[in-house]
Symmetry: C2
């Protein structure tokens, strides 16, 4: 792995754990055993490092959205597969997702965060079944923010974490239930854990 890649990885972990503003270039350099100057050789600025770290996640989500406008007419039957792919992508990029959710407010003017906001809007437009009401949009926000929070919490090693496969199943069920309550049989979620 190139130095640049290890820096991106270290930045992803630092930013997710301690926040963008709570992380310094020096700390990230120390994490990978190089110098601050080396970081600024590979990336023009701290913000450019953030963008490089977030880009793969945003690209993956954008690709996911672009790939499925063709099934816009049959959202109900496509929903489970859609949400499944969505959760998988979020889990693959959990650090970036966690960064976006927790730093979104503080970094409103940063371009890469604005791009994330646009993608979230596109996701909302894709997942919402009917004409957007306050209720359905609020439930969607709760689902997305909640899932992102869970993924961020799973990066913390101060406590035990459940099996990723089990987590995946729970996230898919819950998100589906929140986004499209009309098409999810209630029994599927109420009687699962005994």
């Amino acid at each position: 792995m190139t130095t640049r890649d290890t820096l991106v990885q270290a930045a992803l972990e630092r930013f997710a754990r301690f926040g963008y503003l709570g992380s310094s270039i020096q700390q990230i350099a120390d994490d990978v055993g190089t110098s601050k100057s080396s970081v600024l050789y590979h990336f023009d600025s701290k913000e450019a490092l953030l963008e490089a770290a977030m880009a793969p996640a945003l690209d993956a989500l954008a690709t996911l959205i672009d790939a499925l406008p063709q099934l816009r007419d049959d959202k109900v039957s496509a929903a489970p597969a859609l949400v499944t792919g969505f959760v998988d992508t979020l889990m693959q990029h959990s650090a970036a997702v966690s960064i976006f959710i927790s730093q979104r407010g503080a970094l409103q003017q940063v371009p890469v965060i604005q791009r994330g906001n646009e993608i979230v809007d596109a996701i909302a437009r894709t997942l919402v079944l009917e004409a957007p009401s306050t209720r359905v949009l609020t439930r969607l926000s709760i689902g997305l923010a909640g899932v992102a929070f869970i993924l961020g919490d799973a990066l913390d090693d101060s406590h035990e974490h459940p099996d990723p496969a089990e987590m995946r199943e729970i996230l898919i069920d819950t998100l589906l239930e929140l986004c499209m309550p009309a098409i999810v049989p209630a029994a599927a979620t109420t009687g699962r854990d005994a």
Copy 2:
């Protein structure tokens, strides 16, 4: 209102909008038209200011929890009132709630955040019906984090916000559904918005 109170209010808004690390004492002083030295006269440190700002919310939640261990035996019938009171408290202290959720990771070693973590654990113990399973705990986390995210977003004046009363109703319904799916009739949430 005393200078101290206005400082607490300004700190609450700053921290919620830009994060604790993204806010400086100087900025908060400027917000209320005083000097940085004046802030540090009323509060020993920036961290003490954060604690003073968070305290009312944490006190309210702690009081709410302490008040209801007696209905531990009949959680099912008590649940709606419990969640309603809980959402009301969160909405009354939305800035502090937003701060806690978004800064929790970056400020793990700050005492007032640790106190918040303990309160969240107590809330989980109170709201969970059965023996805690991964599924029910995950759903609870999604609900709490999602609701907190919504409340933080409502502090942002860059876009329109729905009626607080409508929001309250939606939050109560959704949280109840996430925490205690077994006792919530699915029809209550699926057919509401048409």
